[in-house]
């Protein structure tokens, strides 16, 4: 299973990367894309939107099903990945490069509350049973 050690994770299968400028990138994990199958559509939150932690804010749709994406932490949306909207299959090909949107965290310390790779691996394992 592919779970990079340098990222943070949520129970709802988003990954979070802290960028050099203090913003965070958000995408869905390898495990999530594998469950959903071939991606065909995604809808990002609008730039400027204020999100609460755990707020439903984006949608990914595969051939099979639609799935909500939740904001991992509180913050303001500072960018959406327009390229990805035109080529959602990139989520299947390289889920950790395929960032969906970027947030400016309301509180940088909130990241510490997210799961690390080991905890996320255990979470995926637990969900399988």
């Amino acid at each position: 299973m592919s779970i990079p050690a340098d990222l943070k994770y949520t129970q709802s299968h988003e990954w979070v990367r802290l960028e050099a400028d203090g913003n965070v990138s958000v995408g869905i994990t390898h495990h999530a894309q594998e469950l959903l199958g071939d991606m065909v559509f995604l809808e990002n939150p609008t730039v400027g939107r204020q999100l609460a932690a755990g707020e439903e804010c984006a949608v990914v749709e595969s051939v099979k099903a639609a799935s909500d994406v939740y904001s991992p932490i509180a913050g303001e949306v500072v960018a959406g990945n327009d390229d990805l909207e035109g080529a959602p299959e990139a989520i299947n090909q390289d889920p950790y490069a395929a960032w969906m949107f970027r947030l400016k965290p309301a509180n940088a310390a909130d990241l510490d509350a997210l799961m690390d790779a080991a905890a996320y691996a255990a979470h995926v394992e637990a969900e399988a049973h």
Partner: protein
């Protein structure tokens, strides 16, 4: 405990993603559902459809029995091997199942019914047999596996995999079947492409599958089967029709023969019931994906999507929807897609046939 087809081991070997489909452990895809879809449109793919049940009806009076049992007219079948698509109705006109029936001789017809309906179909047919034709034999053929080989290159690759099938099957017209040794080869399918549905004894199935693999036929899962059949405008039982609706509500009027003196189960109800609903094709004009059960808003009233998906061939979203009579081709309707009203065009279906987009 999920049931396994004789090809279950081959699916595990190929690393298929397996799911519960009507109580059977079946492959949904072997990697990419969209790639599998395109392979069937452009080359040749194969599907394990052994969960479906062949049922043999044998004995004197088989034709007369089917004349009453099914809504299409069995008398359309006059040449050996010819196949017919039909619904089987209950007295209220609702659809018990849809099926294909093959005419092999006056004392042998073969039906193929849906996996999810197999038990109730057998019980239903058995009850009708007792009333109408107590001396007939109705035999479920769980000893047979079925592989669908579909796509423009299906014929060539089937001959390559099974030398000896060529002479007999090469001249076979669409919607015909022929028996070659232990194989039952039908030129039928559920994809809108040329292709075959081949029944073989369970024990032979893995060897046949392997031969097809070596001839370059790519395994495809039920995911691709669903997008292919939707593009081809073919109904799926349990989604586009069930016991609560009639064939007329479901775009299947063409499969019902109301003419003449022939009586069949459900005919009275079909004559009596109002025809106020129809099945139409939809093409989404906005960005998103249409899904089953989404509400459709038309000038004539509300309807509902029965099947909806992303169409890999059209690179957009399409659907079948049950809407009030009066909605016409070319109309623009609205669909509630996850809380948003999106626009869709009412279009003629099939959406795709023989690799070509029609809408």
């Amino acid at each position: 405990m999920l049931k396994h087809t004789p090809l279950n081991g081959k699916h595990h070997e190929a690393n298929a993603k397996l799911v519960d489909f009507s109580g059977w452990e079946m492959p949904i895809h072997y990697g990419s559902q969209i790639e599998e879809h395109h392979i069937v449109r452009t080359d040749a793919g194969m599907f394990d459809v052994s969960h479906m049940l062949p049922v043999d009806i044998k004995g004197d009076g088989a034709r007369a029995f089917l004349r009453a049992l099914i809504a299409n007219n069995i008398d359309k079948l006059q040449t050996t091997g010819r196949a017919l698509y039909t619904c089987m109705l209950h007295e209220g006109g609702g659809v018990v199942d849809d099926l294909i029936v093959y005419f092999m001789s006056e004392s042998w017809f073969r039906l193929v019914v849906n996996a999810g309906c197999a038990d109730k179909d057998l019980a239903w047919m058995e009850a009708q047999r007792e009333k109408l034709a107590p001396r007939l034999n109705i035999t479920p053929r769980r000893d047979l596996a079925m592989i669908a080989i579909q796509g423009p290159d299906a014929a060539g690759k089937l001959w390559a995999a099974m030398p000896g099938t060529r002479e007999l099957a090469e001249t076979m017209k669409p919607f015909h079947a022929v028996v070659v040794g232990e194989m039952f080869i039908a030129r039928t399918g559920y994809t809108g492409e040329d292709g075959f549905e081949v029944m073989v004894p369970n024990k032979a199935a893995p060897f046949f599958w392997q031969a097809l693999l070596e001839a370059g036929v790519k395994p495809c899962g039920l995911g691709a089967r669903d997008t292919l059949r939707l593009e081809a405008g073919m109904n799926l039982y349990g989604q586009d029709m069930d016991e609560g609706v009639t064939p007329f509500d479901s775009g299947l009027a063409w499969t019902v023969d109301m003419g003449g003196e022939r009586d069949f189960i459900g005919k009275d109800a079909l004559l009596r019931l109002p025809r106020n609903r129809q099945l139409v094709g939809l093409k989404l004009l906005d960005r998103g994906v249409l899904r089953a059960h989404q509400s459709v808003f038309t000038a004539q009233g509300e309807g509902e999507i029965t099947s909806g998906s992303f169409s890999p061939t059209l690179n957009g979203s399409i659907a079948l929807a049950r809407v009030p009579v009066g909605v016409n081709l070319g109309d623009t309707v609205e669909v509630d897609v996850r809380g948003k009203r999106m626009k869709a065009a009412v279009v003629k279906y099939p959406f795709v046939r023989n690799g070509k987009a029609l809408v």
